[in-house]
């Protein structure tokens, strides 16, 4: 990977330079001292754990947030973007993890929103627009009908459409927030081909990823962030992955993943032949008491969908789910809850919390029936229960009546955990349990999971963080494209073995 063909960009002035950037949201400090320089013709990797402040940094570049302190310079001139339009005008294009296309508009329209070519009478020239869109897509080597609605495109195709939009803009800076998270191996290669050619044409690329093989394959320079601050910037060929990981975590791995060895007990969860059309197919596995089983794989591989089907949020087409030998009916979270299943969902704000309601209401929602007398609730029992469980998880909040929205991400996650732990589950399913929370809380959540397992709770964990999977799991089930691609024991599971199964590259090799 010709990573060194660049001539010392240190000499040239950077296109983008951020120095001492700080940003806070209410009580949460997202960035304290962020630094970043992007040079023409160079791909720059930004790595850091979830919650390190990468997304906030990107949103400042995109003009979505204004920094509280620090400076942003473009070509040496300080700028203060008042909105996304200004960032765009400055040549910065951002491709988000989840593409933000307009499902009701056509592919071509999505490429040219606000910049549609005009024909007679100043009206949009659709034929011209479709031709240009087709040419752009052709240049990227994809076959997409520019006149079809964007709704229903695969994530990979949506990203290609967004990149095509950036090219149409003549963007000089291409920012990509985990673009490969949902892509298969071939799709990643195609994407990288496109990005390399843009880079070689003189664009500056900022690439955020959790996958070091990709970072090494694409980038010449790498910046590490931790807890909202800049840690280091190096030439890619001058650092090792081990060094980067140590800087990201900022502490010994053992402290992050306090996994206790537990002798697994009887089988708690048995899943057989679970299928949902277009989502997952013939998934089967077991989880035993005291065991932590990780469900790994790429985003979009169907991991969350599987645990949702197990819990009954989504109905299943075929297959059986048994908890302690009793079959759960399809599509009934209540039945799953009665059987002792708890699910801490992946998206805390969307699926886990009632943000406008109080900490107390959130913490006791699941247990409201148990806390009532003949259905009547007077408040006392709820207050006691909420206070007890939030204290057990050392949750920090003002008072029990504060809306959950006022808490930091880590404390919000603790409220969600408290809500389910209060129900004393037999099987605890956690979907991305440490997404977007700070490192200290992360370690606390890991310790908690470890203790629960030691107490005999069966734990099924979905995680996109390889370190978390490797550090916490007794067994790793790797999913690919809706199926279980393989199972690895704690001893067998390494970064490589999991990724090989997840991307399916071992089949091609």
């Amino acid at each position: 990977m010709g990573a060194t063909e660049q001539t010392g960009p240190e000499a040239a002035r950077p296109i983008v330079a951020l120095t001492g950037v700080a940003k806070r949201f209410g009580a949460v400090r997202a960035l304290s001292d962020a630094r970043l320089e992007l040079h023409a013709g160079e791909a720059h990797a930004l790595v850091g754990e979830n919650g390190a402040g990468k997304s906030t940094l990107i949103k400042i570049l995109a003009g979505l947030y204004r920094p509280d302190a620090g400076s942003v310079e473009i070509d040496g001139r300080p700028v203060a973007f008042a909105g996304t339009a200004e960032a765009k005008a400055a040549g910065i294009a951002v491709i988000y993890q989840e593409p933000a296309l307009f499902g009701d508009l056509t592919v071509a329209e999505n490429l040219f929103v606000g910049r549609q070519p005009k024909g007679r009478f100043g009206l949009i020239d659709r034929a011209e627009m479709n031709r240009r869109a087709a040419a752009l897509l052709e240049r990227l080597g994809v076959r997409l009908d520019p006149d079809r609605p964007a709704g229903g495109l695969s994530i990979a195709d949506q990203q290609i459409v967004e990149i095509a939009g950036a090219i149409a803009l003549d963007a000089r800076v291409l920012v990509m927030d985990e673009p490969t998270a949902a892509l298969s191996g071939v799709e990643v290669e195609r994407l990288f081909g496109v990005v390399r050619s843009l880079r070689d044409d003189g664009a500056a690329v900022l690439f955020i990823s959790h996958r070091f093989d990709e970072v090494e394959a694409l980038c010449q320079r790498v910046t590490v962030m931790r807890d909202g601050a800049h840690v280091s910037t190096d030439r890619m060929d001058e650092v090792t992955v081990e060094q980067l990981v140590r800087r990201m975590v900022g502490r010994e791995l053992g402290a992050m993943f306090p996994k206790r060895e537990v002798e697994p007990g009887e089988t708690v969860l048995e899943v057989e032949g679970l299928s949902r059309a277009g989502i997952c197919r013939d998934v089967g596995f077991t989880v035993r008491a005291g065991e932590i089983v990780a469900l790994a794989g790429l985003v979009g591989a169907g991991r969350s969908e599987v645990v949702q089907a197990v819990f009954g949020i989504e109905p299943r087409d075929t297959g059986t789910v048994r908890v302690d030998g009793r079959t759960l009916p399809s599509g009934s979270p209540r039945a799953a809850m009665r059987a002792g299943v708890a699910l801490v969902p992946e998206d805390r704000r969307l699926q886990g919390l009632l943000l406008d309601l109080s900490v107390m209401r959130n913490a006791t929602l699941v247990r409201r029936g148990r806390l009532s007398r003949f259905g009547f609730l007077t408040g006392g029992a709820e207050r006691r229960e909420a206070a007890e469980w939030t204290a057990r998880l050392s949750t920090k909040y003002g008072r029990l009546t504060d809306p959950a929205a006022t808490l930091s991400g880590g404390n919000q996650q603790k409220v969600v955990l408290a809500k389910w732990l209060a129900a004393n589950p037999r099987l605890l399913i956690v979907d991305e349990p440490t997404r977007g929370i700070d490192v200290a809380t992360k370690a606390e959540v890991h310790r908690l999971l470890s203790e629960l397992a030691a107490d005999g709770v069966a734990i099924l964990m979905v995680s996109s963080e390889l370190l978390e999977v490797l550090g916490m799991a007794d067994r790793v089930l790797v999913m690919r494209e809706g199926r279980i691609a393989g199972e690895l024991s704690r001893a067998e599971a390494t970064e490589e073995s999991v990724m090989l199964l997840a991307t399916g590259q071992e089949a091609a090799a």
Binding site: L64, T84, L123, D145, G185, G278, G482
Partner: protein, 345 residues
């Protein structure tokens, strides 16, 4: 099956998905046309005079104002909004322009401009409350529905403007026609075409679809939401204002209750016309056809010897049928896309 082999097949799936969705969308307008044709044919079969000049003219007169207001409402509904104040705005404009004419004998053009201006002002107020005050459109325009209606009552103070007070030329304009087509309907048709061109052929128009389709995404790509929303509500208000002038010209007699309850008919026309109540999809042509369908039903009932009292019930049933149908088509299209585009097959 390797990913390499999958790519082209997904490409073709995308192609068929496109035509299926396209068909569904076009089918929507087609469906309305068929419904209209069937209704007209059946009614004409019962009584051929239904297709007579007088009868057709009556229908066009009746449809003119709803078509006009439905055009404006479409623009607002596309942005995930709604404007419940249109009936009141029409009333205000009708009363004020009629008084203006009766007192000063101003020319028709001036009345039209005055009506547009009054409506635009009300629309601007709606837009400002919704965008700057962050008040949900339903609440904001429910509020202005009351306020504007109150203003009409204040202005009227129990009196009304009679046809005899209005200039001859104005009433001729309201009841005249060219080649059998009422002036009023021609105006509505011109507005409908203009709005259709605006929505389909201008950047601002496409921005409205983008806003309704994905408000967050629109912000990310730099669509100026404030300006666009203001445009939508001002346009909707202005057309309601224009509708007020047409109402005054058509009926001559204007009291404070003009346009009372009209907002529901207009929303019904838009929904029946296939504009999604949650924004992003639908056309003004569909809304116009919806308005026309409602007018034709209204006029066909007496011919078919169906009790006039059935009219409203039919409108209600039609709304329910329309949204249920749209939902069904949407679900099927989504399922087809998911099947074809999925990783597992």
């Amino acid at each position: 099956m390797t990913a390499l082999l999958k790519r082209p097949s997904r490409g073709t799936a995308a192609g068929t998905g496109s035509t299926a969705l396209d068909l569904a969308l076009r089918f929507r307008a087609l469906g309305l046309l068929i419904a209209l044709a069937v209704l007209v044919a059946a009614t004409a079969a019962v009584n051929p005079r239904f297709l007579g000049l007088q009868s057709v003219q009556d229908m066009l007169f009746a449809a003119a104002i709803t078509v006009l207001l439905a055009s404006g409402m479409t623009v607002v509904v596309l942005t995930r909004g709604i404007d419940l104040s249109v009936g009141s705005v029409l009333g205000l404009s009708a009363y004020l322009t009629a008084s203006l004419l009766s007192e000063t004998g101003a020319p028709v053009v001036l009345a039209l401009l005055a009506g547009l201006a009054i409506g635009a002002a009300c629309g601007a107020a709606n837009g400002a409350i919704i965008h700057f005050g962050k008040v949900p459109p339903l609440v904001a325009t429910l509020g202005t529905l009351y306020i504007v209606r109150g203003l009409v009552y204040f202005a009227a103070g129990g009196s009304r403007v009679n046809a005899s007070d209005l200039p001859r030329g104005f009433l001729d304009f309201g009841n005249g026609s060219v080649l059998g087509v009422p002036y009023l309907f021609l105006i509505s048709l011109a507005v409908l075409v203009a709005v259709a061109v605006f929505l389909a052929g201008t950047r601002a128009g496409r921005d409205l679809y983008a806003l309704g389709s994905n408000p967050e995404g629109a912000r990310l790509v730099g669509v100026r939401a404030g300006r666009r929303l203001m445009t939508a509500y001002v346009l909707c208000g202005a057309l309601a204002g224009l509708g007020g002038v047409l109402h005054a010209a058509r009926f001559g007699t204007v009291d404070a209750s003009a346009g009372h309850g009209l907002e529901l008919t207009v929303v019904a026309a838009v929904v029946v016309g296939g504009v999604a109540i949650f924004g992003g999809s639908g056309t003004v042509l569909g809304a116009g056809l919806g308005a026309l369908l409602l007018a034709v039903i209204n006029n066909a009932l007496p011919v078919l010897r169906i009790d006039q009292f059935w009219q409203q019930a039919i409108v209600g049933a039609l709304i329910l049928a329309a949204i249920a149908l749209d939902r069904l088509v949407g679900l099927r299209a989504a399922r087809a896309l998911r099947r074809k585009g999925s990783h597992v097959d």
